[in-house]
């Protein structure tokens, strides 16, 4: 067992005052204090300090609770991070899907007869519908002959 001296008593006074020590240690300390005037004074001073505290002013608790609950900033919790990740995946995935789906729709058919790149469209074929869907052509791009053919098709 550790030798009891005055410095050790002062070290463990908080534990002695709050009964946090085992019975044997407590008995040894009390025996030392009983025969040591200096430690008796330390014990009395420590007990007085331990027993005297400031009274929390009325209303402070509610004030602190209101401030703590009301003024807390946004916190990244696990749940919020999971929700944000789900939204991010949906937005990025959806954008990717759309960007892949729209061109594929246009390229499933024959190339659009664009004036600059297609000098002579294949005879008998006018990609009018595809051109409208893809938004890359207009009636003004068509020749008179093609317009006449289109009117015939629409009438049939």
């Amino acid at each position: 067992m550790r030798e009891i001296n005055c410095e050790h008593v002062r070290d463990v006074l908080p534990d002695l005052l709050s009964d946090r020590l085992d019975a044997v240690t407590t008995a040894s300390l009390r025996a030392h204090i009983a025969r040591c005037e200096e430690c008796q004074t330390d014990y009395a001073v420590a007990a007085r300090i331990a027993d005297t505290r400031y009274r929390v002013p009325a209303g402070l608790e509610q004030r602190v609770i209101a401030a703590s609950v009301g003024r807390r900033g946004f916190q990244w919790t696990r749940g919020r991070m999971a929700a944000a990740a789900t939204i991010a995946v949906a937005v990025i995935g959806g954008s990717t899907w759309l960007s892949q789906m729209l061109p594929r729709h246009g390229t499933n058919s024959a190339p659009m007869p664009v004036a600059e790149t297609t000098a002579a469209p294949a005879a008998g074929f006018i990609g009018v519908d595809d051109a409208f869907v893809s938004g890359t052509s207009s009636l003004s791009d068509l020749t008179v002959e093609e317009l006449q053919k289109l009117l015939v098709e629409m009438g049939s």
Partner: protein
């Protein structure tokens, strides 16, 4: 018994505290209230001892809770929550003290604890007058000694916890506690 009453009635266990902190971190209002109720007295006691002014001590206590609960995601658990909170409270009190200057206009009110029944050979000294006298002696101590003594004796912190709260070494916390107690003994006799 309500949850608040039940949790207030028992001392904080690590598991209980971890659960409470996790809930408060997620924005649970009841958990936040419980943490305030559990530690307000310790926080106020510390800010009052630093500032010696009731109004400023209240402001500092409020700042401490708002700052701590708003930064819970940064609490890593290296120390106990109480120690971490007290350190924030100390910073809040010092910051307010620097900004507004120390005033001693609004008296702090002492509360007399009811000592537990004891069969001590050494009886506890104890009257309201003596409590007030002891408080005056405490206020005469340098801040570090005063805080080391009160954190050890009133809040039951270990030297390691006192060091963490005061942002000093464990050795410094121990020396300040012993020097403070020695001075109080000399003044008291």
């Amino acid at each position: 018994m309500s949850e608040i009453a039940r949790l207030n009635a028992k001392p904080a266990t690590e598991a209980d505290e971890a659960s409470l902190l996790s809930r408060a971190r997620s924005g649970d209002r009841e958990a936040t209230e419980l943490l305030v109720r559990r530690y307000l007295r310790d926080v106020y006691d510390l800010t009052a001892r630093v500032l010696s002014d009731r109004d400023l001590a209240q402001d500092a206590a409020q700042d401490a809770f708002v700052n701590a609960l708003g930064a819970l995601h940064r609490f890593r658990g290296d120390s106990s929550f109480k120690t971490w909170l007290l350190r924030i409270a100390l910073n809040s009190a010092r910051s307010i003290g620097r900004r507004k200057g120390r005033r001693r206009e609004v008296a702090l009110e002492l509360v007399e604890e009811t000592p537990a029944e004891s069969t001590d050979a050494v009886e506890r000294i104890g009257t309201a007058t003596e409590a007030k006298k002891m408080e005056e002696l405490l206020q005469k101590l340098p801040e570090k000694q005063r805080l080391a003594v009160t954190l050890r004796l009133q809040q039951g912190l270990s030297y390691e916890e006192v060091a963490a709260a005061l942002d000093c070494s464990e050795g410094a916390a121990r020396v300040n506690y012993h020097l403070g107690l020695k001075r109080l003994r000399e003044w008291a006799t």
